[in-house]
Each structure stands twice: as C-alpha cells, then as structure tokens.
Amino acid sequence: MAKKKMTGAQAVMESLLHAGTEVIFGYPGGAIMPIYDALYDYKDKIRHILVRHEQGAAHAAEGFARATGKVGVCMATSGPGATNLVTGVTDAIMDSVPLVCITGQVSSSVIGTDAFQEADVLGIMTPITKWCHQATKAAEIPEVIAKAFHIASSGRPGPVVVDITKDAQFAMSEYETFSFEMDESTRSKLPKPLDLDKIKKAAELLNSAKHPYILIGHGILISKAEKELKELVEKGGFPFASTIHGLSALPSDHPLYVGMLGMHGNYGSNRLTNWADVILAVGMRFDDRVTGRVKDYAPSAKIIHIDIDIAELNKIIKSEVSIHGDAKEALKKLIALINKNTHKEWIEHFREADKKENEKVGELELYPKGGEIRMAEVIRMVAEKTKGKAIIVADVGQHQMTAARYSKFKDSNSFISSGGLGTMGFALPAAVGAKLGKMEKQVIAVIGDGSFQMNIQELGTISQEKLPVKIIILNNEFLGMVRQWQSLFFAKRYSFVDLQNPDFVAVAKGFYIDGEKVEQRENLSKALDRMIKSEGPYLLEVKVLKEENVFPMVPTGASVDEIRLE
C-alpha cells in the first residue's frame, strides 16, 4: 500500500474511520483543536455530536455502545475536558461498556510543567480504564487507536483513553496502514479454548438438579447469546432471572422468565435463589446488590459460573464449576448436553411468589384506585403503548428500579441504565447516544427530578441535533431513593433530600423542546400518547406521589430470602 502523508490529527480521523466510527460525541478546546480542524474535512463521513458537557459525551458514547454493541467514541480537550469525562469512563468500566475516548493533551515540550489546561490524564485515567496511552508522536497514532478499539471491544469490554499531545496532532508523518498487529500482551489476553470437561460437569449438574436456576447478566447481551439462552432454558425447562443489565435479553413475557435479581428485584427471583440446588450464572458478576449477605447466598446450591473475565470467577461466590469463556460459545456447547425437562413444580413456586408480590405491591402501584399518580403505572402505560418495543434509558434512583421492574421488553438491548456505578445524570446523555445508535427505535428516557438536573444541559444537544428523544420526568420533588433509606433506616430524618425544582416544561421550552406536565391520572394516558406521537424531542413531566417506597427490597446486609414486600 502506498504511503500517505498527513498530520497526526488527520491520522486520528483516518484511524477512526478505519475502526468503523459513525458518531463521535465530543467537545472541542485548545489542546484538541488540530483534531477538530481535521474533523472539519470528515463531516460527511463521521457525525459529530456537540454535547454541552464532556460528562455528557462519555454517557452518550455509552448509550450508543449499549444500544448497538459497537464501540462508543468520545472526544475532549485536555485538562477540564478530560477530567469531565472521568465519571462516564468509570461508569463504563463498571458496566463493561466499550469506549474509546480521545483527549487532547498539551504539547509534549510542556508536559509536567503545570501548563495551561494540563491535567495528568494517564494518572487520573489509569485506575478507571482497561487501557490508556499517551501518544506524543504522530507516527504512533494509527497503531494506538487501532489497538484502543481492539482492547475496548474484546474480551470483557471496557473504556480506553488515548491522550494525544498537541504537537503530535500537528506533526506530519507518513502512514502505510491504519490497523495494528497483536503483540505478545494483547495475544495473551485472547480467551483460551473452552474446557469441555467442565461443560460436561455443568450439564450433569443441571440435568440432575431438582431446582435448577439460571441467572443471566450483561454478558448474554454483550456476547449476543440471546438465541442460545432461549434454547437452553426451553430445552431444560429452566427458570431464569436477570440482573439489571441482563434485562431484555429475552422478551419479558417469556414463560420461563421469573424476574429481576437484586435489592429491588422481584420477590420470587430473589427469595428462591436460596431454594435452588443448582445455579448456572452466565455473564454476571454476583454484585453485592444481587447477592445480599454473601454468607447466606444460595446455601443449598452448587454453582456453575460462566464468565469471559476469569477474575470474576470465584471472586465473590465460590463456584463448583467455573468456566472461563464467551457466553455464546459456552451455552452452545452446553445446550447439546442438556436433557429435556420442564420443572413444572419448581416453576410454580416462582409463580406463587409472583402472586404474592403482585397482591402486596404490583397491583397497588400498577393499577392504583385513587390518589396521586404512581411511578409504576406510568411505566406500565409506557410499556403498553410502545408494546415493549422502545429502548428505555433509565437514570438512577427509585424511578430506575420502577422502570427496571415494570418495563416490558420485546427486543434485546432495550434497557440501558447505570448499574455498577449508579451514576445520577446518566440517562439524558445516554438516551442521546442510544437514539443515534438506533434511529429506528423509540428511545424513552425515564428520569427522576434529581437525576435530570445533573445533566440537564444535554437538552441543548438534543435540541440542536433535533433528536426525537422522549423524556419522562417522574417528579416527586425528592431525592426519592435516599429519602426511602432515610425513612427506613435513619428514623425518617430527611436530611437534604427535598428539592425545589424549576418548571421543567418551561426549561424544555427554553431549549425549544416541546413538553407538558401531567398531575392528574385521567390526563396521563393522553399525554403519553402525545409524547409518543410527537415528531421531535418531547419532555413529559409527571407529578407522582411524593413519598413512596420501592418494594420488594432486600435491605443492605440482609440475605436474599429476607426480602421485604413492605
């Protein structure tokens, strides 16, 4: 191939194109100006979304990655630009989201001298990235960016930061290729072949189980193992539950689906964990929100754990059979060895638990007879009206748990939220990214009044890009989840959880975004219809019951079978 002569900044563009980048979420500034100058000539090939704050760029890139399974790309300048990415990058490493973040850096001649807008980006990013690298020479850019994409998307995905000094962006160099060849270390990270003896052992355990139980996580979606999961559970007649990030892997109405795990998951799915005699956990990491008190987690179960990240095996929960590998590959092998079964009686226990949960909780909040609007009924109506085909992007708090519990999904990758880090302010920018990744889908952000105000500025991005993102604010004028804890565990001492909110509809209108506010139940359905039918972005503020608690709940430090319904 003929050598091409260009600047480092142009090489960044060529490298991004080579890696298949369609959208960049970013914000320009001094130390990244050469790259933005190069971007000017690539406007017809790569779409750039000008966010209003770099945190928004990182979350938008996450939303894009989560909706599409592709690598999300964001760009920021040195110093404050880079440090503003930090929360989003941390969120991405917690939730295994592939990101490539390109940050400008001051010129190599002044690095380390406290130059204007200089921050120790490698120092800051190292603990929160899968990999990071500072490029100080134009010639290294293509290889570094190609390697960044490889690392971000392979194995257990995660964020990668490439910091590029301004002089490297300006410098001319000659380039032959925009790919990279794996070196010893990247090769050493490739997964080893599956241990088939362990697959066999897993199948034997599952086949002989009386109460087999399958727990699925984000790994199913990342490895695109939905079909294999369906085959496995249907063949073995296994009930399966999902972590918050495994939601939508299979349709919510799948007859073997028994609910969400975790602190605010379902009653049966949590409680019956401790009845199971064999648990197969795939692509999930036994987060403390899922396990409750570890000592009393699944005491009667032999555990089979499949994960692409070997460090997750036996990290929290001791497993009988630990399988290191890709979920899709492992399930494929496993299906063949599974005996047909139905486990009818066992599944009946879950249905009885559902009944109980529905009586104590669901019925009352999904179909309230009177009083103020409940969060749950809003989510129920959204699910009904969109027939479960929308992508729900939830922020963090009570509304998130309600959205996770009551949304109904038809398609995979339809629930996007910040699980591991629990980042308030996630949903609005993440919805921007999700929409850009899946223009054909309805994208609905469900946000609390507190969370909304953490990245409210991204309304500007939505407006400028004319992105038809639908925003539902479930407004209880409280930091509801904190208030719930204060109510349950801190003697109702409501310490700084009261919010005096702006007029959200007026704020939206200030950004030229249409919207309305609903306070009465009889107006809710029509308002949701208007929102869904609207062509552009739309903000619907729903005034909900001020003090309501999310149940079921596994209190911190309690065992999953101590889950409370009230």
């Binding site: 490698l122 120092g123 190292t126 603990p127 899968k130 990999w131 990071c132 690392i151 070196d183 010893e184 270390s185 990247t186 050493s188 990270k189 241990d195 362990k198 990240d309 070997i310 460090a311 095996l313 036996n314 990290k315 630990s322 399988i323 290191h324």
Partner: protein, 169 residues
C-alpha cells in the same frame, strides 16, 4: 503467609502504576519490589513480596493478569523458590583491631565481602535471604552501622511450575 508474585510485563510506562493500583485497591502492603528487564528485550520482570491469605493471592494475580501489558503472572511460597537479596552495609570503625574483627565476622558466611575501606568506614556487600542479611546486620550493629541498603528480593522457581497461577479456581 508470605507470597512472592512474579509478573512479566511489557516494559512500558504506566505498568508499575497499574500494578500498584491493584495492591492499593485491595489494601495490600508491599514488603519488597524488584523490577528489571529480563534477557528478552522489552519484557520486565517484577518480583513482589507480600503478606496475604492464599484466597487473596489467587484473586490478586487474576486482577494483575487483566492489565493489558501483563504477559504472565504467578505466585509462589518461599518453599518453591530460590531467592536472594543484596545488601550494602556501611560500618564505622575506630581501630585496626575493629577491622580485623569485622573481616572475621563477615567471613563466617559465604557471600559476604568487604568492597570498600577508608579511614573511618568499611562497606560490606552481602547477599542471601532476608533472614541471613538481617543476622549479619545484627552482628555488625556494635561497630556502629552508618547505612544499610537492601535490595528487593530476586527469585526463581526451583521447579518449573508455580503452585499458584491464573486459573478459574
């Protein structure tokens, strides 16, 4: 329990930081750390001595293995290793008689040697295990130790396979 972690990495900036960060997050103190490039170019060998439970060692080496630049990592107990440290000990003296005593004293063990003498001090080079070096230091204390520099541990496996490697366990 004392474990020696051997970590082979690409010799690139930032690797030491990533390794240290794994220890920091788990609040594991480092007893000794030695790093140098091995015979094959571009690869560094880290030898880290730490006190922790076996359970934790297994988890820590898996975390270390996630670092992109890490090529291989394993852990071993003292029984599996031949290991040494090097010490440089500067001792003051007053009389010619002192010097003679010091010479006799250090020659009791192989591996000790006087490498420098002037009017007021001698410098002794010693190698051995941490215990052996500590013993020598104790013996020399009465003469007045001016400075002691002890390297971190270097170690090789006695047999070819370490007992604790990255695994699904």
């Amino acid at each position: 329990m004392k474990y020696t972690l051997t970590i082979f990495t690409e010799n690139k900036p930032g690797v030491l930081y990533r390794i240290a960060d794994v220890f920091l997050r788990r609040k594991i103190n480092v007893e000794s750390l030695t790093v140098s490039e091995i015979e094959s170019k571009g690869i560094s060998r880290f030898t880290v001595v730490q006190n922790m439970e076996e359970e934790m060692v297994k988890k820590v080496i898996k975390q270390l293995n996630k670092i992109i630049e890490v090529v291989r990592v394993y852990a071993s107990t003292d029984e599996e290793l031949y290991f040494n440290e090097i010490a440089l000990i500067k001792v003051g003296y007053k009389t010619k008689g002192d010097i003679a005593t010091i010479y006799n004293l250090i020659l009791e063990e192989r591996g000790n040697r006087v490498v420098f003498v002037n009017d007021i001090s001698v410098i002794i080079r010693s190698y051995g295990t941490e215990k052996e070096i500590q013993k020598l230091v104790e013996k020399l204390k009465p003469f007045g130790i001016k400075d002691v520099a002890i390297s971190g541990r270097t170690a090789v496996l006695i047999h070819d396979t370490p007992s604790i490697e990255v695994s699904t366990d």
